[in-house]
Symmetry: C2
Subunit: 358 residues, 2 copies
């Protein structure tokens, strides 16, 4: 079995023949094989059953040929393990019956010992790593504190975030206390994932875009940074993804010390490349997932335009958000194959000559 | 009755003692007096009954002391007048029973003669203008084509915009045809609003943030610009607001020829001030509406921080999005009063001396 280490080399900003490529939510509903597993088990059962999590984690590797696997799980497993009762109902999405909104509520939460409360997630990593047998690297992940805070205080998904944001303005002391506690639990969880076999760790601050610059800098970025700094002690590369906060890419690289910046599809690809070069870090993204609704020839053209703008040292091709459930598999393949047919030598040579003239 | 022309002077970038201030959605649910009217009539009946629209349009002028009134209406009155059947149900939001998704569907739409299909809106402007009697200026508005396109193709509000965006990628010819038609109808509607007494016109591209840079530049900005250029023929200042596309502020000023750039709360206030000065246009915004959940002393501090960063020629204070329905009235007043107590002479002097040293 050949070993594909493109992803690991890109994480280290080493030269690659072409960019590695994977897709956020690549183990997902657009795959009939995923839906077949999902028909037998609900979402949380899939997360909590290492055999099932392993099975769907491997699907995009086998079926689509992506260059990295990401463990099948959910960002809300941490608050669940801290004692909040997570449910995920069809059509309703994730919910916590008893949201956390006061200092008194904090007492209800327990800190997580990952090998106890999140053992199923770590077992799934171990099982997947064995099953992959080196074919492609395996990514672990966690939600970033602000995003977890938003779910835990709202009790469910929201468009306005009015409960979570009201707390930031009305009770910042509580907000900082909960965020600090989350950062430490997230950091420890990521370290445990590296120990269980994850070869890279991604932090998802999915709701970063719900905050303006001042609140982002006070309540989101410092806690993503705290979690990332703890994760980095595991000696595994960290990818920091804060969709909706593209304006802050430079600050995110600085604060978190991340190896790779995730870039959402709102962000100009060429501009993001400039930030990555200035900060000497890698960069991952950022095709608009809706592009995969287009005909395959349009997907190829848009993907090549993105590659021309963003390819260079430390580049990992991806979508700028999770793949949508109603995308045809052939369209996902058109994206993957376009990246895999791309020749990075031009981008690498350009970077090298820029380096030499510096 | 004193005439408050601060807003008109700011629109012309003339010196003002302090910034004019109003709030998007200021005639809204946070006011008990609004809820009292709403208890008697549903939302669309309020829009379509000039006496009721006038009554709620005046409420924030009388109750909160804002420096401009904006006519009570909805951005979706245009597709409704073009022949789509708009309903707005409690808890569900606006819906069109028969979305427009193909070239064939375009035939069903008729172009709007504003004094016929949107006469109620124009009558409300005339009635409000008389009732205001010069106390404060009156703003008219319309939805920008991309936002109307999104509602008309989805049939309702959405988080993913997957239907609307799929059309952009899969059938760009249809998309351009519908957007062009919308731009012309929006432009004519704005001209009619100026003729009916509107002293400024705001274009809302509420879903601008659902597009990445390339699609924004192809499908949203050119049609906002087309509508704005038509509106400008009425000789009344135009405010262009594209929340979620703060990165494009400079391009928006250039393409639309707008007098004032609306700025959302995601956007750094000091950076937006720089764009406005470079482009020699006005600027409106941008306090995060969630700030009004904070205690009044925090609202004052945040408002002053915003003013220190953004005040200058052509500045109009506002929120960076509509006021939220569960904000206490006293908190809205704290925001308004903080702006009204601000002295702009420092900002104006700084702008003048920057001008002279240029």
């Amino acid at each position: 079995m050949a070993t594909n280490d493109l992803f690991l080399r890109a994480l280290r900003r080493e030269p690659v023949e072409r960019p590695p490529v994977w897709m956020m939510r690549q183990a997902g509903r657009y795959l009939p094989e995923y839906r077949a597993v999902r028909a037998k088990a609900d979402f949380l059962t899939m997360c909590r059953t290492p055999e099932l999590a392993t099975e769907v984690t491997l699907q995009p590797v086998d079926l689509i040929g992506v260059d990295a696997a990401i463990i099948f799980s959910d960002i809300l497993v941490i608050p669940d393990a801290m004692g909040m009762d997570l449910t995920v109902d069809e059509g309703v999405g994730p919910q916590f019956s008893d949201p956390v909104r006061t200092m008194r509520d904090l007492v209800r939460l327990s800190d997580v010992e990952p090998e106890e409360g999140l053992r199923y997630h770590l077992d799934a990593l171990r099982m997947t790593r064995r099953a992959l047998d080196g074919r492609v690297p395996l990514i672990g992940f966690a939600g970033s504190p602000w995003t977890l805070f938003a779910y835990m205080t709202e009790g469910k998904g929201t468009k306005s975030f009015s409960i979570a944001k009201k707390l930031l303005f009305a009770d910042p002391e509580f907000a900082h206390a909960l965020l600090a506690r989350l950062a430490d639990n997230v950091g420890r969880f990521l370290v445990a994932q590296a120990a269980a076999g994850a070869q890279a760790l991604q932090l998802f601050d999915s709701w970063a875009g719900s905050l303006g610059p001042r609140e982002y800098r006070e309540f989101a970025l410092p806690y993503m940074a705290r979690a990332a700094r703890i994760a980095k002690t595991a000696g595994v590369p960290v990818i920091a993804f804060a969709p909706g906060a593209g304006w802050a890419l430079g600050e995110i690289a600085e604060a978190t010390g991340c190896d790779v910046l995730g870039v959402d599809w709102h962000t100009d690809a060429a501009w993001a490349r400039g930030v990555a070069d200035t900060r000497r870090c890698g960069i991952q993204g950022n095709l608009d997932p809706c592009t995969l609704y287009a005909a395959p020839e349009v997907i190829r053209e848009r993907t090549q335009a993105m590659l021309a703008a963003i390819d260079g040292p430390g580049y990992i091709a991806n979508l700028g958000h999770g793949i949508l459930p109603d995308v045809p598999v052939a369209h996902a393949k058109a994206f993957i194959e376009t990246v895999q047919a791309w020749d990075s030598r031009g981008a690498m040579a350009a970077a090298q000559s820029a380096e030499m003239t510096r």
